[in-house]
Symmetry: C2
Subunit: 348 residues, 2 copies
DNA sequence: CTGTTAGCGCCTTCAG
DNA sequence: CTGAAGGCGCTAACAG
């Protein structure tokens, strides 16, 4: 026995499908007697509208898609959580597509979304604006996040990585640290590049020389990089890592080397993932409201969808780019006293 | 200018829509000349098939939906990651729907999936098997995870919570601990109930009395519960928490109380979320391959979809229930030596 | 091998 | 206020 269709309902209620549609969508006016007959039939058949069919005829899916490079780590999960919240609040669904290691892959994923979503949020280090718009055959509203080489043609959001890094270094300088090293992220990564940039700026502005080490955004790479730095003849008295995962690796390396943090070496990370508040010493880091960013991204996209933004291309500088400013959170790894931290966690 | 449709392609190629459909879907045979003409037109118009329309006519969406209570914590994000991997491997998409605080809410979410997905994975502590099937008007393949009160009518997967808890207690007993307390999860929660059950079983089997405290699966509640336990006249020498988040709260409470772990109090958690390996002391806990579970769940669901399981209801005991057995991972919180742990992390 | 023609399930003018 | 009919974009028999 197959699921009931609108026609079954119409027959059972003794009305036309149009009337059923009217009471179910709330559009148009329906007399009371018919309305109740319809509702009755719906109940009896336990009818549920087929959203796919509805989408086809209304040409709106009430679904937003999100394309991301991968799903590892707390950053992405927090982001998705925020997006989901915003979607639910507006009666939308979220479809996720991840693990897009290269541009071709990501491009295919975007294409496969056609007819499935009303708009797309794209996080892809691999896709520049050109490749992106090429993937979007019929203009679909899009919001770019952390896209890097944007030409301002698309609405976008990004973190102020340069500014964040700079404020981290300034804090360390204020603490009297002078030999401040940086553990950078992977080479191709935009975030990594910008954070390193901010570091170099601030450090040279202070008249000290940059000390650079390379990492891969993983904890292990942070550990390795720090091990090298700590073994050098004149060891740094502070290390700024390009993300929290690496910063935690740095913390472990310091401990391993028999040194003390922050006494011997202060440490600063970036992102403020939940773990940052749980490790010992607590990690000083640049806080980003990740879930909030996700929520905001969906809200903007939905607004663009409603407004038909994708249909009306405008001047290049008209596509709004929103900047998120990270906030420095000082914890023990920079000498803040230990506190009863970590009590907002909701981890299951 | 709207996106090109199959008809546009057909016209430009000078063939019928059927032929276009044939080359695009790979079904049926097409002569070389027509095939290339079609491909050419597709290219020229940068045509992408409308998956919504395709779904309507094939009555398959290539999307699986997942309904979950919320999206907090590493457990769910790992689970989703695993599901996404499996979906991509089979060319499917994943649509997530979370934050279903009560049965009515979850039920509505399930209904709203009709016509949008080919099958559903449901994690809902609030929905029993009856309410669930009621929500599924036209039989949609479903896989239940951690559902609790199942009557075996639906395919399902679950963690052996009782057995896991029991093995934790046995380990502690083997360490010579005799005053073993338990910090349980929220009252209504199935997992919490089963883990407590395993604890009580093992402890009474060993001839010692249960010492119970109540938590809410959050770190803060674990801290509070442990604080109470540690203040009691005869303090426990081991604490088993129903999940890792609470166990970490316990760790902090012990430290706060000026006691040492594991010397004064040993601690065991449940789940083995990534943080468990990063906190100090490293947390002994019951490891579950969360991402693997997610992957497996999708694979089973897809198999059921292919097999048309939902169409052919069978005897009650025919609906397979798969049990995941947790594995005890011993770390410092139970006296294991500290190791250079935590180097598999991929956290961004 | 290719074109024609029904639908898939629903919404939506347009008459009545 | 209601019903009939066309169409959303595509696939799938069925003839040619």
């Amino acid at each position: 026995m197959k699921a009931a269709t609108i026609r079954d309902v119409a027959e059972r209620a003794g009305v036309s499908v149009a009337s059923v549609s009217r009471v179910l969508t709330g559009a148009g006016v329906v007399a009371e007697p018919t309305r109740s007959k319809v509702l009755e039939a719906v109940e009896a058949l336990s009818y549920v509208p087929h959203s796919g069919a509805r989408s086809l005829s209304t040409s709106r899916t009430d679904v937003v898609g999100v394309i991301l490079p991968d799903l590892f780590g707390e950053f992405f999960s927090e982001l998705i959580r925020g997006m989901d919240v915003a979607c639910r609040a507006q009666g939308r669904h979220l479809i996720v597509s991840s693990s897009h290691d290269d541009a071709a892959n990501a491009s295919a994923a975007i294409r496969s979304m056609r007819g499935r979503v009303d708009g797309l949020i794209v996080l892809s280090p691999h896709l520049d604006s050109g490749a992106l718009t090429a993937s979007l055959s019929g203009r679909l509203p899009v919001l770019l996040m952390n896209g890097g080489d944007l030409d301002g043609q698309q609405p976008s959001m990004a973190v102020d990585n340069v500014g964040g890094a700079r404020s981290a270094i300034e804090h360390l300088l204020g603490l009297g640290r002078r030999r401040i090293a940086h553990v950078g992220g992977p080479n191709g990564n935009v975030e990594a590049r910008e954070r390193k940039q901010g570091y170099v700026d601030a450090v040279t502005a202070a008249g000290t020389a940059p000390i650079l080490a390379q990492g891969e955004f993983t904890q292990a790479s942070g550990f390795a990089a720090a091990a090298r730095l700590l073994a050098s003849s004149d060891r740094p008295d502070a290390i700024f890592a390009a993300n929290d995962a690496m910063a935690i690796g740095v913390l472990l390396a310091i401990q391993e080397a028999g040194l003390r943090c922050p006494d011997d070496v202060a440490v600063v990370g970036f992102d403020d993932v939940p773990i940052a508040d749980l490790v010992r010493p607590g990690l000083t880091t640049l806080h980003i409201d990740i879930a909030g960013m996700g929520r905001r991204a969906v809200e903007r996209l939905l607004a663009d969808i409603e407004g038909g933004v994708a249909l009306a291309p405008r001047a290049a500088n008209d596509a709004v780019r929103e900047i998120i400013t990270p906030r420095l959170v000082v914890r023990q790894s920079c000498g803040a006293p230990a506190s009863n931290q970590g009590f907002s966690g909701e981890t299951t």
